[in-house]
């Protein structure tokens, strides 16, 4: 019974206390501390900037996760001093970020139209280089996806089908086109769930919450996913090509290491890796 009175009293005294000049002293201490942190951060940034030539930051579409990782390792074997940081995510988001001054040196997009738009707006210091053509597949860990076709998706025992969001994800756009071309879109529309990008789409299927997904071949071929389920290629005549392209951004215009890396991507070794990971190569499909 007394405890509630005690709490009230202590709250009130705390309020009176805070209104006085102690608060101002606290403010001063805090601002001094903030100033020191700021100086420290400035020094840190300045220190990093001095080594800018040895560092590359790459923004890459989620479907490149496995292929680009391997290419980076191979590139580092001939450039041991190079620090390469790769960030994987959605192509659309990266292009927005680059417009807002994001610190990426290279931008690999799953849809070549994004880097083309950036180039047209003056955010690129190189031409738009096509580096791969992606393929979409049906993938499922719970049924024999190897023999599936798009028509099988109407099967009532398939309750949820995951695709990437066609509004903004390149793989989702192509999945919608293929479903429409096969005359399946209207039939299965009610069963569709939309992943934020193609990697999340795969994850919906991996966790069993969707029975089948339309995902990137490059993901279906990854060690982890190949163990879990089989895939069936969706004929590429059913959709626009998933032409992928990269640019060097404006901020990396004078970065020699970035130029080296860009040249390496076009080379035979990198192309072999790409093709092993389920990408077709720009020179081969016309």
């Amino acid at each position: 019974m007394n405890s509630s009175f005690v709490t009230c009293a202590s709250v009130q005294s705390a309020n009176n206390f805070c209104g006085l000049s102690d608060a101002q002293i606290k403010m001063r201490v805090v601002s001094q501390f903030a100033a020191r942190v700021l100086i420290f951060v400035c020094l840190l940034v300045a220190g990093k900037a001095a080594h800018a030539e040895e560092k590359i930051t790459i923004a890459a579409a989620a479907d490149l996760k496995f292929a680009l990782g391997e290419i980076v390792v191979l590139f580092k074997s001939t450039h041991p001093a190079a620090q390469i940081e790769t960030i994987y995510g959605s192509s659309g988001k990266f292009s927005t970020q680059i417009r807002q001054g994001a610190p990426y040196d290279l931008y690999f997009s799953a849809d070549i139209s994004y880097p083309r738009a950036l180039k047209a707006e003056g955010f690129a210091s190189s031409e738009v280089q096509p580096y791969a053509v992606g393929r979409i597949v049906l993938w499922s860990p719970s049924r024999d996806a190897g023999k599936m076709t798009l028509a099988d998706l109407a099967d009532p025992s398939i309750r949820k089908i995951a695709i990437a969001n066609p509004q903004h994800a390149p793989y989702g756009k192509r999945a919608e086109e293929a479903l429409r071309a096969a005359g399946m879109w209207e039939k299965i529309k009610a069963k569709l769930v939309y992943g934020e990008n193609v990697a999340q789409t795969a994850q919906f299927v991996q966790t069993g919450n969707a029975q089948v997904g339309i995902i990137a071949l490059s993901l279906a071929l990854s060690t982890e996913m190949a163990k879990q389920g089989d895939y069936a290629l969706i004929p590429d005549k059913l959709h626009q090509p998933l032409e992928q392209g990269f640019i060097i951004t404006e901020r990396a215009a004078d970065n020699l290491l970035v130029r080296d890396f860009a040249a390496f991507i076009a080379g035979k070794e990198a192309r072999n890796i790409m093709s092993r990971h389920g990408f077709e190569l720009p020179g081969e499909v016309e």
């Binding site: 019974m1 959605s90 995951a162 569709l192 769930v193 992943g195 934020e196 069993g208 919450n209």
Partner: protein
């Protein structure tokens, strides 16, 4: 500009209001006994129980989203439970979002209620008991009127926090129109698709909503006033 919101935007707004309302009602129903117990018990596991209730405040939405996705999946405990009831699986459904939001917004309802209950003097309850009021009678004629500000805070915060949910919905929702595509997800999609005008309208609406909700809370709620 003639149309500020597209049909899809309006359906996202309606869905969000529906979700937040259902969640707030459920939370008040289950949050009240939990808060009462936490406020009155002297049991040793009051501490651990309070900490579990408060977890969603500290945990990143990704942790909650990931665990819920796995737990509600066909092999997860929640998924097997819902399947055995013949309800199917919860991810990608409105019901799934309700379950997730109830967990996610629980502390925002329980904590204000617990504070309100803790501030009710034991004497009032004893007086009611000596007048032979039943437990329910005491609750409705003593506890409820005394903790009205607590209920107001709990309702507004529970509702507003559910409206503001994003990460969990993105991870378990599957972005289905009229089912799981709430306003926060719709804004994200607009930004991703570079439809900035639509994103602006919806975002501005959210700012206005958040401000009005908090304004209501601060002006109507007498606990905020200082003597």
């Amino acid at each position: 500009m003639n149309f500020y919101f597209s049909v899809a935007d309006l359906s996202a707004i309606w869905l969000t209001i529906k979700l937040a309302t259902v969640v707030t009602v459920i939370l008040l129903l289950i949050g009240t006994p939990i808060a009462w117990w936490l406020a009155r018990t002297r049991c040793w596991w009051k501490g651990p129980a309070g900490a579990v209730v408060a977890l969603p405040i500290v945990l990143p939405p990704t942790v909650i989203g990931f665990y819920l996705l796995v737990a509600m999946g066909p092999d997860g405990p929640l998924g097997q439970f819902t399947q055995s009831l013949g309800l199917g699986l919860l991810p990608f459904t409105f019901a799934g979002l309700v379950v997730a939001s109830v967990f996610y917004s629980l502390p925002f309802v329980v904590q204000p209620l617990q504070n309100a209950f803790e501030n009710i003097p034991e004497r009032s309850l004893e007086t009611a008991a000596t007048l032979r009021a039943s437990v329910l009678d005491t609750f409705f004629s003593v506890v409820l009127p005394l903790s009205k500000p607590g209920f107001l805070t709990a309702s507004v915060l529970g509702f507003a926090h559910t409206v503001g949910e994003f990460g969990v919905v993105l991870m378990i929702g599957g972005n289905i129109p009229d089912q799981t595509r709430v306003v926060s997800v719709q804004i994200y999609d607009h930004v991703e698709a570079m439809q900035y005008t639509s994103a602006h309208w919806l975002s501005a609406a959210m700012v206005v909503f958040a401000f009005v909700a908090l304004l209501l809370l601060y002006t109507l709620n007498p606990t905020g006033r200082r003597k």
